[in-house]
């Protein structure tokens, strides 16, 4: 395995999620939510979901890495 793909996926989604959540919080009174998304602050919901997914991916990547490091030591 060359590079664990969960690392870039986790990082990208955590960063995007964070950016979108913060933006959603800052614009929580904005007119655009009434105009576009049926008065739902879609940014906060989507952003939080992205962060959860991103962190989960990062967690899986780190866990796999630490397993790999332990395996040769055990032998």
């Amino acid at each position: 395995m060359q590079m664990d793909i969960r690392l870039p996926i986790g990082l990208l989604f955590s960063i995007l999620g964070l950016v979108i959540t913060v933006f959603g919080f800052m614009t929580r009174h904005a007119e655009m939510y009434r105009q576009h998304s049926l008065n739902i602050n879609m940014n906060i919901y989507t952003g939080v979901c992205l962060v959860i997914f991103g962190v989960f991916m990062l967690f899986m990547a780190v866990r796999a890495q630490s397993k790999k490091n332990k395996a040769p030591a055990a032998k």
Partner: protein, 572 residues
């Protein structure tokens, strides 16, 4: 279009973050690219869940996403047949029955398998037609992306072409096939993340699935069909005139479900290459099976939005969404962009646009990486310069990446100036591809099929497709690209789709019969020993003793098939 979408700085920032990641992945992977095998075959080192997602992602280009949305609006839930009938069975067949021969033989590409199994000319025919096809497919993707960006965001056409070419070139040049596969996985998750909010808001606007169904009754009634013609997938397939697709069940099952879908999923190197990059035989076999699971549910993300859109157009929802332009005409092709612009506020909008951009680019990258492999191994190494060092072929692979991208840019401009030329080329490729599955089916499961028979069979199948297309036309066709160019019209089909399905069916049958007949009268050109590992009856069965029963290919295959059957019955 209603004009441009309101895009803010936050949306551009999301796009920029994504592009930075794509290039970053390329740079990190660069140091692993030491041999032509690393670059063109990913060193056969990737786990099954990644190749599985890449497998369906390569096919989920933006043209597919937008096309499925448009069809969902135009034909309703019957569009799901492209997934539940036109993909799942073929993917299961590839994983369970065909993958052992692709992965187990020493072939590095689909054309190379044809050489090992049949002969040089069969391979040459496939390699050249495939190489040209991928370049044009990549060019069409580029053209479509530039057009969309121009309409949506007001970007300059040339700027979009050059920008997308540079980004795709950068990451495929640096990280080869691995880079392309990684980005396809990234794209898969982006599409999911960007489209779930869209579907959620659309459903809410229409009052849930029940609300959509009620509105679809009005859609169907207004167009003169039975009320549930948009919301039931099989009930109206008895005759071609009863459903909006204009196709009856036999043409659908045989043409789409068998010939076209098996031809695409089982013999197209673009997708098969993903499975061949897997790190073991078992992973290669599980690749299409794992891909099939999300594939079954893809219609929720790509077809349902179209159905919601057309439902709301006929019976307005709370937010007043409509597909009708200022002139009151429904523009089906813009279904997805219109929904993105209507429902997503700045922020998630950037995410949705990035997902679309990602799928355009990975569509291009997929074609470029398939092209450079076929070019390097099947054309350059076989016909131009055999017997060079591996370093030489690695260089050639990298050069082919640059060369392929530049030629696809050319193809994008060709598409921009002569729309008919593109239609014409796609038609020729359809003729070439339609009979291919017959050749593979006989090659893998009948050891008597001979090299010459396969070649002649392929040619006559291609010719048969052309003749069938020349003698028939879909109702209301205006140009000769649509058919009927041989002068007399023998049959008029109710729709273009019906004509396509039947063209493919004829091509398959002709190739199948001709190959069998010639094989019976000619002598086999390969000994049984040479065909070991290439033909079913001469290859020892694989016993996957180290894999638990629940992750055996046959088990996953059965579960996936059962899932597809349940979906078909549920939305009957």
């Amino acid at each position: 279009m209603h004009g441009q979408i309101q895009v803010g700085p936050i949306d551009y920032s999301i796009m920029v973050i994504y592009i930075a990641f794509v290039l970053g992945i390329g740079f990190v992977l660069k140091r692993y690219m030491k041999s032509s095998k690393d670059f063109l075959e990913s060193g056969r080192s990737i786990p099954a869940w990644i190749t599985g997602l890449a497998f369906i992602s390569t096919n989920l280009g933006a043209l597919e996403v937008m096309g499925m949305g448009a069809s969902g609006a135009k034909y309703g839930i019957a569009t799901c047949h492209f997934y539940w009938v036109g993909a799942i069975p073929a993917m299961v067949f590839l994983g369970v029955f065909m993958m052992p021969f692709y992965y187990g033989s020493k072939a590095r590409s689909v054309p190379e398998y044809l050489k090992l199994r049949f002969n040089e000319k069969t391979r040459g025919f496939n390699a050249f037609s495939f190489a040209i096809m991928t370049i044009f497919a990549s060019g069409i993707s580029m053209y479509a992306m530039a057009t969309l960006m121009q309409i949506l965001l007001g970007w300059d056409f040339n700027f979009s072409i050059v920008m997308s070419a540079i980004i795709v070139l950068a990451y495929t040049f640096l990280g080869g096939l691995t880079s392309a596969i990684y980005n396809e996985v990234l794209q898969f998750f982006l599409i999911v993340a960007g489209f779930i909010p869209l579907v959620f808001l659309g459903l809410k606007d229409a009052g849930g699935w029940g609300g959509v169904q009620n509105r679809l009754h009005a859609v169907a009634a207004a167009q003169g069909f039975a009320p549930d013609a948009w919301s039931r997938s099989w009930a109206h397939m008895g005759s071609a005139s009863a459903n909006p697709m204009g196709i009856e069940w036999f043409g659908l099952v045989f043409g789409l479900g068998f010939v076209l879908s098996f031809g695409y999923w089982c013999t197209n190197f673009l997708v098969v290459q993903r499975a061949m990059a897997a790190n073991s035989m078992s992973a290669a076999r599980r690749t299409p099976l794992i891909g099939a699971i999300p594939k079954m549910f893809m219609p929720i993300l790509v077809i349902l939005p179209g159905m919601i859109a057309v439902a709301l157009t006929y019976q307005s929802g709370v937010s007043g969404f409509t597909l009708k332009g200022a002139d009151g005409v429904i523009n089906y092709n813009n279904t997805i962009p219109l929904m993105l612009g209507h429902y997503l506020p700045s922020g998630v909008l950037g995410l949705g646009l990035t997902a679309l951009m990602a799928s355009f680019m990975s569509g291009m990258a997929g074609n470029v990486t398939a092209f450079n492999t076929v070019w390097t191994y099947d054309i350059y190494q076989s016909y131009i310069k055999p017997g060079q060092s591996d370093k030489h072929y690695l260089r050639m692979g990298q050069f082919a990446t640059v060369f392929g991208t530049i030629v696809s840019m050319g193809a994008a401009y060709v598409a921009a100036s002569f729309n008919n030329i593109m239609d014409f080329l796609q038609l020729i490729f359809a003729f070439v591809n339609a009979p291919l599955f017959a050749t593979f089916l006989l090659g893998m499961f009948w050891k008597k099929a001979s090299g010459n028979a396969a070649f002649v069979g392929l040619l006559s199948g291609t010719l048969g497709a052309a003749v069938h297309h020349g003698l028939t036309k879909p109702e209301g066709a205006a140009t000769l690209v649509k058919g009927g160019w041989l002068g007399s019209i023998v049959h008029t089909y109710p729709s273009e789709m019906a004509q396509n399905f039947w063209t493919a069916s004829f091509a398959f049958t002709i190739c199948f019969v001709v190959t069998i007949l010639i094989s019976l009268v000619s002598k086999a050109n390969k000994t049984d020993e040479e065909l070991k590992g290439l033909v079913y009856s001469l290859t020892p069965r694989i016993k996957e003793t180290n894999v638990p029963w629940y992750s055996q290919p046959a088990t996953i295959g059965i579960i996936v098939c059962a899932g597809a059957v349940v979906l078909n019955l549920f939305f009957w």
